[in-house]
């Protein structure tokens, strides 16, 4: 999920096989608030992260825990004000499925046909999906992201809270907006994981966050003896910077591009 986006920028050709129902980039809500807040949001995220940076360096666990709450709130606000929620299942459907999702069969329940139409226009119709996506983000995204971090070399026996917090921040930046806009159907996620979805704000931000965290590993082994080199400060920093860059690029210059491996 990480380096591929360095090499993604080939052609805006759509993939041949299209397992996901929608093949178009996400369009922002057509409200003045949405159009404004989408620009304020990254500035807000980075400003808060920068303001808390020295505290994060001093005590990563407590600072990153607090920061996770702030990021969760900001991402929810961003989702509710700017992004269209998933069209595949209604709020009521999601509520029904929440219990079965917790025992790991998240893919199945959204396949049932939607009973009620989603009223995208109303704020209330977006708060429900946002809340549910936020609640689903830890159980769905934390295990695979933590596993990913450990597979790529995060400490196995020590620093577990650090790794968990890194994964939590990555989940809030990358998985949460995707869950909110695309739902949890297996077909959609096959498209997302196969990097077959065209790049937009959400996909761009997710790829950027993961790539940023990947690049954030680079300074860790250097012998500069700086406090901020301690795991996982540079990785989380990379994730935030990468998210903002990816989100902005995905919403503008790279919008509509599709990752091509071959």
């Amino acid at each position: 999920m990480s380096t591929s986006s360095t090499t993604t920028t080939t052609k805006p050709a759509l993939p041949q096989d299209s397992p996901q129902p929608t093949n178009t980039p996400i369009t922002l809500l057509n409200t003045p608030l949405a159009q404004t807040y989408t620009h304020i949001h990254p500035i807000l995220l980075l400003s808060i992260y920068t303001a808390r940076f020295s505290a994060t360096v001093a005590d990563p666990v407590s600072s990153l825990s607090q920061l996770a709450v702030v990021t969760a709130v900001l991402q929810s606000v961003y989702a509710v004000t700017c992004l269209p929620p998933t069209s595949e299942g209604s709020a009521t459907k999601n509520a029904e499925g929440a219990s079965s999702a917790s025992n790991g069969s998240g893919g199945k329940w959204t396949k049932k046909p939607a009973r009620t139409a989603t009223r995208k226009g109303s704020l209330g119709a977006r708060i429900w999906p946002a809340t549910l996506s936020l609640l689903l983000t830890p159980p769905l995204a934390l295990p695979p992201l933590t596993a990913l971090a450990i597979l790529l070399g995060a400490p196995l026996t020590t620093h577990f809270p650090h790794t968990l917090l890194l994964s939590l921040h990555l989940a809030l930046l990358s998985a949460f907006p995707v869950l909110y806009t695309h739902g949890v159907s297996a077909r959609t996620w096959r498209g997302v994981l196969g990097l077959m979805r065209p790049v937009d704000e959400v996909v761009g931000g997710a790829l950027g966050a993961l790539l940023g965290a990947w690049l954030g590993c680079v300074p860790v082994p250097l012998d500069w003896d700086r406090d901020w080199q301690a795991y996982p400060v540079t990785l989380v920093t990379g994730a935030y910077v990468g998210y903002v860059v990816g989100k902005v690029a995905g919403g503008t210059v790279m919008r509509g591009w599709v990752v091509s491996f071959d």
């Binding site: 591929s4 090499t7 993604t8 070399g153 994981l193 990097l195 082994p221 012998d223 071959d262």
Partner: protein, 949 residues
């Protein structure tokens, strides 16, 4: 000044001798902290190597006039042969000489032993036979007893031999037969290599040495000087070779019954608690011993006399000490003068030394001419002489690391051009390489021969050119030029080698990032972790790519196998052997403890788990394409399984031998039996395995089907419709879909058996994981249709480099597992012993190189055109990976030649890179591509194809 040029003893300014006889005992790898009492700090408890050798310290404290004990600092490389050169000539070593530890050539510089002989002294040598390579025919032929030094698993033969012959020499009836005895004990060093310092065997060895010194002191007479010293220390695992503190900190102890030793100050009454205080250099032995025995100091000495030996019993004889230092300074000055003349050194480059000399001369002349009030200023002379010696040594250390920049640039040039040629061949040729390769080879050969001729001519005719340099350089350039004309000839077949897809970009950028990282010492130190990161980055990308596959079978295989691949990488990464620079952020797991080089008891289960699991795992990969039949059942089910079972038996016997599970006579048999078992494994693996590979038929079987119910077989098989009337009956060739891949992969097994045998149990586990990873990689590549991309060869390059670290190696001299030569042999035997060490050290890279053709052949369509050309392309890409790393490490080592960490980090990495490239070249071309051809012929034979390619 007149006697400054005179070097004959007894002339006006020579130092009177204090002793007529000497016994010099060298205890190999006697680290300083072995000899001083252990003082616990922050809850640390004593290790096995502590407090086991108290005699040296006790005598130095109780009889300060008879004995002193000091830290004795070695100049790296800390290998015995280099140390002996330093200890006898008093000069600084050059690093690259370390390789000649195994083929010592006679010293041609002036040295202590030569001076002893010239002075008519009879020198007897007992112990390590390295001395005889350095000083052939210098020793008394009747009394001398050399012993083989490389059998590191033998702790006692050498030591007992030295004892047996040393003590009779001290008997009054024999005392007149010799003047100097050199005894070289190896047991401590071997205990370190075999078990590590923190092991009861080390305690026993040090206690034995303690007893030897005790008896020695009782036996010697008044006229004899006793010196006990270590030639180097050992690192936390008991190995040495590098320049870490533990490796350079040895001990020196001098003893005499005369009681002429003293201390320069009250604070130095007891020996230093650590080697960081009041250390003396190993080159200081040369002037000290020379002056104590009344010999001329060897011409090229740079050391200075040890204070304690000359200050006198009361510690007040500053005059004697000053004279000793002044004599030594004169010798050093004479040497430096000659050296500067010979090398054409400017005076500016050694100005601090010359200034110090002027000062020394002034104060000396002043003292000679006039009687100063209050006697002569010995203190001033002493200080000036020490200052001069220190300044000179400092200059020599900086100056003597001489770099031949022209040769370095030429070397980098050849490597870079070679890399370009390889890039063109590997990625820049359109279509099949098979028909082009002979043409390119012929052109390159013609160019090489022309280059040799030109080089020889230039070297012989132009005096400014060195013959060897000119020949080597012209040969390389000639070969490359010949290749270039070949490329020009086929120019219409060339294409841009610049990557065109995301996969080829990734395959290029990760190795480039790795190579760029070698410019920083941190990235070089942490290479093992970086390789884990890069490998699993590839693994994750392959996992994501598998989601894109249209066929559900490909998707499932791709996803599950890439999960297996990444999890196995992470599992293997738990096997770690930390290099010193990684501390304290790293914990070694390769051996029982950080202070050991034996396996922990739980690690003994690994060979047994391998025996049970590995053949079963490999079988499933053959079985997937119904190829597990005929020779495969024999190779995997018998050769591999038996080889692994016997390897497990070997390590059990080894543990029984180490742990002395059985007493008495059984113990003696263990060693013989375990070596025999290892030889059987090699015979089964390489001999029987290769024979099986050679004679194996393709892994096919034929089944007649009466109905078409067996559709599940079809994906992996070739149905041939018999077509006569019924049309329901067909003949199915089982295993057809992977006929090339499965046939070729048989070659992997014999090498796998041999490499696992030569690893420690933990390393065997890592290699087992490597084998599984190779197979899962083959499946991933097939599922993602990546056979034509550089992904396979590059991932195999990363995988080979990664498992180099996971089999207990690091890019340092001290991590070479020399003892692996003794797994299948009792003694050093050429050429086998070096080959075994190579298979131990570079086993992972060798196996990965052998696996490269399989990335192309695995499930390839049997009649696909140009398969051999594709294999050549993949192999060239694989070699390209190592060539890039070799070029980068060479460039960085050259560029950073004045870096503080040159010898510690950059040079060893450069050497590893060069050796690996050479081995992968040989194995890749001879074993892998040769094996591919052989395997093709056997397949073509069966189907009656004239040739597949």
């Amino acid at each position: 000044m007149s006697c400054y040029w005179s070097s004959s003893p007894g002339s006006c300014c020579w130092h009177p001798s204090s002793f007529s006889k000497a016994i010099v005992i060298l205890v190999d790898a006697l680290r300083y902290d072995f000899t001083v009492p252990f003082t616990p700090k922050d809850g640390e408890t004593a290790h096995h190597y502590h407090n086991a050798l108290p005699f040296l310290y006790a005598t130095a404290v109780k009889q300060p006039n008879n004995a002193f004990l000091l830290p004795f600092i070695a100049d790296p490389p800390t290998v015995t042969l280099q140390r002996l050169k330093g200890l006898t000539t008093g000069t600084l070593p050059t690093f690259v000489d370390a390789g000649s530890n195994f083929a010592g050539t006679a010293i041609d510089e002036d040295n202590l032993i030569a001076q002893l002989r010239t002075a008519g002294k009879n020198v007897v040598h007992l112990g390590d036979d390295t001395w005889h390579a350095l000083f052939p025919d210098y020793f008394d032929p009747d009394l001398t007893r050399p012993f083989d030094s490389f059998n590191v698993w033998d702790l006692h033969t050498v030591d007992n031999g030295v004892n047996e012959h040393l003590f009779p020499l001290l008997h009054p009836t024999n005392i007149s037969k010799w003047d100097v005895v050199i005894g070289h004990y190896l047991g401590v060093d071997h205990a370190g290599h075999r078990y590590g310092p923190d092991h009861p065997a080390m305690t026993a060895k040090l206690q034995q040495m303690n007893g030897v010194f005790h008896d020695l002191v009782n036996a010697v007479d008044n006229e004899t000087l006793v010196v006990v010293m270590g030639d180097h220390g050992m690192d936390s695992k008991g190995d040495h070779g590098g320049e870490s503190d533990d490796e350079i900190e040895a001990a020196i102890w001098m003893y005499s019954k005369k009681g002429i030793f003293g201390r320069t100050s009250v604070s130095s009454l007891t020996p230093p608690a650590t080697a960081k205080e009041r250390p003396v250099a190993q080159i200081d032995l040369v002037p000290t011993l020379s002056l104590l025995l009344g010999l001329p100091i060897p011409f090229n000495n740079l050391g200075r006399p040890i204070d304690e030996a000359f200050i006198g019993a009361k510690g007040s004889d500053i005059g004697n000490l000053a004279l000793a230092n002044r004599v030594t300074s004169a010798q050093i000055h004479r040497y430096q003068y000659e050296y500067a003349q010979a090398r054409g050194l400017s005076d500016e480059s050694r100005s601090t030394s010359l200034d110090a000399w002027t000062k020394l001369t002034e104060i000396w002349d002043l003292n000679q001419r006039v009687i100063l009030p209050g006697g002569q200023d010995w203190k001033g002379i002493y200080t000036a002489a020490v200052e001069y010696q220190t300044a000179t040594l400092e200059i020599c250390r900086a100056l003597w690391a001489r770099f031949d920049v022209v040769s370095m640039l030429h070397g980098v040039e050849v490597l870079a051009l070679g890399l370009v040629a390889l890039v063109v061949y590997a990625r820049g040729i359109n279509g099949d390489r098979t028909e082009l390769t002979p043409l390119l080879l012929i052109r390159a050969t013609i160019g090489t021969v022309a280059g040799i001729v030109v080089g020889l001519t230039l070297g012989l005719s132009i005096p400014q050119f060195q013959l060897i340099h000119a020949t080597v350089y012209c040969t390389a350039i000639g070969g490359l030029l010949g290749l270039a004309t070949g490329f020009y000839h086929i120019r219409n077949r060339l294409q841009s080698p610049i990557p065109s897809s995301a996969w080829s970009w990734t395959s290029l950028m990760l190795p480039v990032a790795l190579s760029a990282g070698f410019a920083a010492n941190s990235f070089t130190i942490w290479e093992d972790e970086i390789l884990l990161f890069f490998l699993n980055t590839f693994g994750v990308l392959l996992f994501l790519s598998s989601f894109r596959q249209k066929s559900p079978v490909d998707r499932t295989i791709g996803c599950t196998q890439s999960i297996a691949f990444t999890v196995l990488t992470r599992l293997a990464s738990l096997s770690r052997l930390c290099r010193e620079e990684q501390m304290p952020h790293c914990r070694s797991t390769y051996y029982a403890s950080a202070n050991s080089s034996t396996s922990a008891t739980w690690q003994l289960t690994i060979p047994f788990i391998l025996t049970l699991a590995l053949p079963a795992v490999i079988k499933t990969y053959f079985a997937q394409t119904l190829s597990y039949q005929h020779s495969a059942t024999f190779m995997v089910g018998f050769i591999l399984r038996l080889g692994l079972a016997l390897t497990a038996l070997f390590w059990t016997l080894d543990a029984a031998d180490d742990g002395e599970w059985f007493g008495g006579s059984t113990q003696a048999y263990l060693k013989t039996v375990k070596v025999f078992v290892a030889q059987v494994v090699l015979a089964i693996g390489l001999a029987a395995g290769y024979a099986t590979f050679g004679w194996a038929a393709p892994l096919l079987n034929i089944r007649e089907e009466r109905n078409s119910s067996a559709t599940e077989l079809r994906s992996a098989s070739q149905p041939i419709e018999t077509g006569e009337g019924e049309a329901k009956s067909s003949i199915i060739i089982l295993g057809y879909a992977n006929v090339h891949g499965s046939r070729y992969l048989l070659l992997f097994i014999p090498w796998l058996v041999a490499v696992i045998l030569l690893q420690k149990p933990m390393g065997g586990g890592a290699i087992g994981i490597l084998a599984w990873q190779v197979l899962s990689l083959l499946e991933i590549i097939d599922a993602n249709q990546l056979a034509d991309t550089p992904v396979g060869p590059v991932v195999l390059g990363l995988l080979g480099s990664f498992h180099f670290f996971k089999t207990g190696h690091q890019a340092t001299l001290s991590s070479v597992q020399w003892e692996s030569a003794f797994i299948p042999l009792h003694y050093i035997r050429y050429p086998w012993s070096p080959l075994f060490v190579m298979l131990n050290t570079f086993g992972a890279q060798i196996l990965c190189a052998i696996a490269v053709p399989a990335t192309v052949l695995w499930k390839a369509p049997p009649k696909k055109k140009g398969l051999l050309g594709d294999v050549a392309k993949a192999m060239a890409t694989h070699i390209l990976f190592y060539a890039l790393i070799n070029l980068a490490t060479t460039m960085w080592a050259g560029h950073l030649r004045r870096h503080l960490m040159l010898y510690r980090i950059f040079s060893p990495r450069f050497m590893v890179g060069a050796i690996v490239l050479l081995i992968v070249d040989l194995v890749g071309i001879l074993v892998a591509v040769g094996g591919t051809r052989w395997s093709f012929m056997s397949v073509a034979d069966v189907f009656g194809w004239s040739s597949v390619q």
